[in-house]
C-alpha cells in the first residue's frame, strides 16, 4: 500500500541528510538566526548620542541635564557652543539629538515663568525619532512635576493641586523588550523560507539533473511523489519550530504560554501554504536558479506584509487587504498570540481559518498543476 511512498521518503531523507552542509543549513543556521535576530532586531532605544548647548550654564540648567542623562536613554557625546556645530554633527550622524538651553533658564524658573528648552532631533529614522520625542516629553513632564512640588514644599503651601497621572502597564511583555516579540516572528519567517525554498529545489533539482525522468516512467502515483517530496520538509519544519522555541526559551527566556496543540495544528496549516507554494514554483521553474529567484520574490513580499517589523494596522488600506492572503501574517499573529498572550482558539479562530483556506487553495493549485510528464 505505502511501499512507494516509503521508498520516496527514505530516498529523500538520505539525500537531505547525507550532505553535512545541508544538516547545518537546516538545523544550526535557524538557531543562530534566532539569536542574531533576538539581539539585533531591537527596537528599544537606549544610549542615544546627544550633544548639549548650554548657554545658561546655571545650577538649574546643569541639574536639568544631569537628571536627563541619569535616565540612561541619552548619552552626552559633545558639549557645543552653537547650532551650526550641532547641525554638522546631526548631518554626519554622530548625534541623534541636540539639546539647546538658552540664556535665562534659571532666571525664568526663579520668577515662576515657563522656560523653553529646544531639542533638535534627527528625524530621518522616523521610528527612532518618535521614540526619542516620547522620552523627551515624558522627561519634561516629570521635570515639571518635580519643580512644582519643590516649589510647593519651599513655599509651605499645599503640595500640589489635584492632578491626573497616567499609570500604564504593558501587558504580555511588561518590559516592552524586543526578544519576546521577535522570537516567534523568527519561527514564522524561517519556517516559510526553509520549507518553501527546499521543497521547490528538491523537485527542480531532479529536473535539472534528469533523475525525475527515470522516476516518472515508473508507476509511482502523482500523490506519492508529491507526498514523498513534501513530508520530509513537514518534519524538518516541526523540528525547526521546536529548536527555535528552545533557543528562545534558553537564551531570551521567551516561553510558550499558549496551547502546544494549537501551535502544532497552526504550524501544520501554515506548512500547507509554504510547501504548496514551493511545489507550485517547481511546476513553473526549469532550473534551481529560477526557482530560487521566484521564491525570494514571494518571501520578501510575504515577510514585509506580515507585520514582522511594521504593524499591519499602519499599512495603507489596499495593502492591508493584500495581507489578508498572506499566510505569514496569520501564522505570525497566531504564534505571537501563543507566545506572548497565551490565548487560544477562541480568539485565534479567524487566523486559523484563514491559514486553512489559503493553504488549501495554494496546495490545491500546485497539486493540480503538477504533471507526471516532461513536456
Amino acid at each position: 500500500m505505502f511501499e512507494r511512498l516509503k521508498a520516496m521518503l527514505i530516498k529523500e531523507f538520505i539525500q537531505t541528510f547525507r550532505d553535512p552542509r545541508m544538516r547545518v543549513v537546516l538545523f544550526i543556521l535557524p538557531m543562530i538566526q534566532t539569536v542574531i535576530f533576538g539581539y539585533a532586531v531591537n527596537m528599544d532605544v537606549r544610549q542615544i548620542p546627544t550633544a548639549v548647548i548650554d548657554r545658561d550654564n546655571s545650577p538649574q540648567s546643569r541639574e536639568l541635564l544631569t537628571v536627563m542623562f541619569a535616565s540612561g536613554h541619552f548619552r552626552q557625546v559633545a558639549n557645543l557652543d552653537d547650532e551650526r556645530q550641532a547641525s554638522r554633527m546631526l548631518d554626519s550622524g554622530r548625534i541623534r539629538v541636540a539639546i539647546v538651553i538658552n540664556h535665562g533658564l534659571a532666571e525664568k524658573l526663579g520668577r515662576g515663568q515657563t522656560a523653553n528648552v529646544q531639542a533638535l532631533v534627527d528625524g530621518s529614522d522616523s521610528n527612532t525619532a518618535g521614540v526619542i520625542l516620547g522620552y523627551l516629553s515624558r522627561f519634561a513632564e516629570a521635570r515639571n512635576i518635580q519643580l512644582l512640588s519643590e516649589q510647593a514644599s519651599r513655599s509651605g503651601g499645599p503640595l500640589l493641586p489635584g492632578a491626573v497621572r497616567m499609570e500604564s502597564r504593558a501587558w504580555f511583555n511588561p518590559d516592552l523588550a524586543s526578544p519576546p516579540f521577535y522570537v516567534p516572528a523568527v519561527i514564522a519567517n524561517i519556517l516559510y523560507i526553509i520549507t518553501m525554498l527546499l521543497s521547490a529545489m528538491a523537485v527542480v533539482r531532479e529536473k535539472e539533473i534528469g533523475t525525475i525522468e527515470q522516476v516518472i516512467v515508473t508507476p509511482i502515483r502523482k500523490y506519492e511523489f508529491i507526498l514523498g517530496k513534501t513530508l520530509p520538509f513537514v518534519l524538518i519544519g516541526y523540528a525547526n519550530v521546536f529548536l527555535i522555541s528552545l533557543v528562545g526559551w534558553l537564551v531570551f527566556r521567551v516561553p510558550v504560554r499558549g496551547s502546544l496543540l494549537l501551535l502544532v495544528v497552526a504550524t501544520g496549516l501554515f506548512l500547507m501554504s509554504s510547501l504548496g507554494t514551493g511545489l507550485f514554483l517547481s511546476t513553473i521553474s526549469q532550473t534551481q536558479q529560477q526557482a530560487k529567484m521566484s521564491a525570494f520574490f514571494i518571501i520578501f513580499i510575504a515577510m514585509l506584509l506580515s507585520g514582522f517589523a511594521f504593524p499591519v494596522e499602519n499599512m495603507p488600506e489596499p495593502v492591508q487587504w493584500l495581507t489578508e492572503i498572506n499566510p505569514v501574517r496569520w501564522y505570525m499573529e497566531i504564534i505571537r498570540g501563543l507566545y506572548l498572550k497565551g490565548v487560544g482558539l477562541l480568539i485565534l479562530w479567524k487566523q486559523v481559518l484563514m491559514l486553512f483556506l489559503i493553504g488549501s487553495v495554494v496546495l490545491g493549485v500546485a497539486v493540480a498543476r503538477f504533471r507526471k510528464t516532461v513536456g
Partner: protein, 510 residues
C-alpha cells in the same frame, strides 16, 4: 622542440593512482589518439597537460612551457573538456562570441572564422538557438567551434564525439582534418576505436599506465591471433587481457513473424510550437525483438521514446505499448516497461544498494523478491564490491549497467534504452550487449537507440529517422543490401550517411 613532452608524469588521488609514470613525446602536427577503458586516466592526463590539474610527480611541457604554468602559451592551447563550458542561456553565436572575446580575437577575424566553423559543423541554421536547446551532438559541435575560435597551435579534445551521430562525427573529423593541414597538433581522447584508427599514433591507457603506443597499423599486430582482420577494438580487448571470447554471443535469430506486437506506432506526431519533432511515424515492433532506433542528433529519437513511455503526450497519432494506449493509459504502460534515459538518471548521492532499494520500493517489489533482484543486478553489473559506493563515484560502464539493472528490477516485458552506451568503453559495451541478447532470449522486447554502428549490427531490425520522419526500416542486412554497389555490401555507417545525405538532397538542403 616537440609539441608535448611528458616524462614520468604521475597523479595520485588519495589511494588511487590515476596516472602512473607516463612517458610520451608528441611531435608538432601529429594527431594523437588516447584510448582506454573508463577510469583509465585519459581525462586526468589531458587535465594535467592543459594545466587544469597539477601533477603529483614527474613533468610535462606543452610548446616548451611547463604544464604547471602555461600562462605564456595559454593563447596557443585549445581544450575541449567532456563537460565543455557552454552557456545554456546564450545562443550558439553568443557562445562563440564569448569565447572569441575571452581569447581577445579581433572582431573581423572571429566573424570570418566563426562562419567557416559553423558551415563545417552544419550549425549555420541554428546560430540563434539557445545552446541549452541543442541536441547532444550539436552541443559537442558547438563546443568544438568555441575551442577553435582562437586558432590554437595545440588542441586537446576529451571524448569530443560522445553521443554524436555518424554524420556529425564525420563532419567533426573533417574539421580536424583541415586543422591538421594547418599544422595544428591534436590530442584526442576517445571511446570510439574507429576514430582512433584515423590517428597518426594511438596510446592505449589502462589503470593509468601506457600499455601500448604506436601507429594503428602496428598496434593491430598485438591483437589475439585467433581474430582475422582485427580492428583496434580487438587490440584493445586483447591488450587489456581479455580474449576473443568477449565477442557478443548473439541469441539464435528468432522467428518473430507470428509474434504479437509489443509496440505499435501509427502516425505518431509531436510538435513543440512550430517545430515538428516527430512527424507521423508508423512502426510495429513484435514481442521479443531487439529493435534499433537510429538517427542523427535531434532527429526525434528521444522524443519518440518519451511518448512511448507515457511521459510526453503525443500531439496526434496513436501509439500502443504492451497493448495500452500511450495517450490515455500512460500509467498502465509504466507498469510494464523499463526505461533508461540518455542522461545517467540514478541518484548520484545514493549508494548502489540505496538506488536499487529505491526503485524496488517504487515498483512495489516484496522484500524477498527485491533481495533476489538486487543480488541479480549487483551480479549482472559486477558491482559486488561497490554495493555501498555512491553511484556518482562509479565509472561510466558500471553506471550504465546499474541504471539498466534498476530499470529491469520489476522484470518488465518491454524495455526502452535511450543511448545506453554513450561514453562507455568497448569492453563494457560488449558486456552490455551480451546482456541485451540474454534478455531478448528470455522474450523481452528491447527498443534501443545508439550512435555506435557496431551496436546497430547487434539489433534484429533497425529504423532510421531523420528530422522527425522515418527514412528506412529493415534488418541490418536488408539495409545494406539496398545500398549494395557492385556486389559489395557497404558498412552500416555508410548506409546511414548515404540515406541522410540523400534525404538532404531531396529536400534541397545543402
Amino acid at each position: 622542440m616537440h609539441a608535448i613532452e611528458i616524462s614520468n608524469l604521475t597523479k595520485l588521488f588519495a589511494d588511487l593512482t590515476a596516472v602512473d609514470d607516463l612517458n610520451l613525446t608528441i611531435p608538432k602536427g601529429e594527431l594523437f589518439g588516447l584510448v582506454g577503458s573508463d577510469g583509465a586516466g585519459k581525462t586526468t592526463t589531458l587535465r594535467m597537460l592543459t594545466g587544469v590539474l597539477d601533477a603529483s610527480s614527474g613533468a610535462a611541457t606543452v610548446l616548451g612551457c611547463a604544464c604547471h604554468d602555461l600562462e605564456p602559451v595559454r593563447s596557443h592551447i585549445g581544450y575541449m573538456s567532456q563537460r565543455f563550458g557552454l552557456y545554456p542561456d546564450l545562443t550558439v553565436m553568443e557562445n562563440i562570441r564569448f569565447h572569441a572575446d575571452i581569447f581577445g580575437v579581433p572582431k573581423g577575424e572571429w566573424i570570418t572564422r566563426a562562419e567557416r566553423l559553423l558551415a563545417m559543423s552544419g550549425l549555420q541554421p541554428f546560430v540563434k538557438r539557445r545552446a541549452g536547446a541543442l541536441s547532444g551532438g550539436m552541443k559537442q559541435k558547438l563546443g568544438l567551434c568555441c575551442a577553435l575560435i582562437h586558432t590554437p597551435t595545440v588542441l586537446f579534445l576529451d571524448e569530443p564525439t560522445n553521443g554524436v551521430d555518424p554524420v556529425s562525427r564525420r563532419d567533426f573529423w573533417r574539421i580536424l582534418d583541415t586543422l591538421l593541414a594547418e599544422g595544428v597538433t591534436i590530442v584526442v581522447a576517445t571511446a570510439y576505436l574507429d576514430e582512433a584508427e584515423r590517428c597518426h599514433r594511438v596510446g592505449l591507457l589502462h589503470h593509468g599506465r601506457l600499455l601500448a603506443c604506436d601507429t594503428p597499423q602496428n598496434l593491430k599486430a598485438l591483437a589475439d591471433p585467433v581474430i582475422a582482420g582485427p580492428t583496434l577494438e580487438d587490440v584493445f580487448i586483447t591488450v587489456m587481457g581479455e580474449g576473443a571470447d568477449t565477442a557478443v554471443k548473439r541469441r539464435p535469430a528468432p522467428d518473430l513473424r507470428s509474434a504479437a506486437p509489443a509496440v505499435i506506432l501509427e502516425g505518431l506526431t509531436r510538435c513543440f510550437g512550430d517545430f515538428i519533432a516527430v512527424n507521423k511515424i508508423s512502426l510495429t515492433v513484435p514481442k521479443g525483438e531487439i529493435f534499433g532506433f537510429l538517427g542523427p542528433n535531434g532527429a526525434g529519437k528521444s522524443t519518440t521514446i518519451r511518448m512511448l513511455c507515457g511521459i510526453l503526450e503525443p500531439s496526434s497519432g496513436d501509439g500502443q505499448v504492451a497493448g495500452y494506449d500511450v495517450a490515455t493509459q500512460a500509467e498502465l504502460i509504466k507498469e510494464n516497461i523499463g526505461y533508461m534515459s540518455q542522461k545517467f538518471s540514478l541518484y548520484e548521492d545514493l549508494t548502489v544498494a540505496e538506488n536499487i532499494a529505491f526503485y524496488g520500493g517504487i515498483y512495489r517489489l516484496p522484500a524477498k523478491q527485491l533481495a533476489e533482484r538486487a543480488d541479480w543486478v549487483i551480479e549482472m553489473a559486477g558491482l559486488a564490491e561497490r554495493r555501498h559506493s555512491k553511484a556518482g563515484e562509479l565509472s561510466a560502464g558500471w553506471r550504465q549497467r546499474l541504471a539498466l539493472g534498476c530499470a529491469l528490477l520489476h522484470k518488465p516485458p518491454i524495455i526502452f534504452l535511450d543511448e545506453p552506451t554513450a561514453g562507455v568503453d568497448p569492453l563494457n559495451r560488449r558486456r552490455f550487449w551480451q546482456l541485451i541478447h540474454h534478455l531478448a532470449a528470455d522474450g523481452v522486447t528491447v527498443f534501443v537507440t545508439t550512435h555506435y554502428m557496431d551496436e546497430a549490427e547487434y539489433c534484429d531490425r533497425l529504423a532510421l529517422i531523420y528530422r522527425g520522419e522515418l527514412v528506412a526500416v529493415g534488418t541490418p542486412f536488408e539495409l545494406k543490401q539496398q545500398r549494395m554497389v557492385d556486389g559489395l555490401l557497404p558498412s552500416l555507417e555508410q548506409v546511414f550517411i548515404d540515406l541522410i545525405e540523400e534525404r538532404d538532397r531531396q529536400e534541397g538542403v545543402v
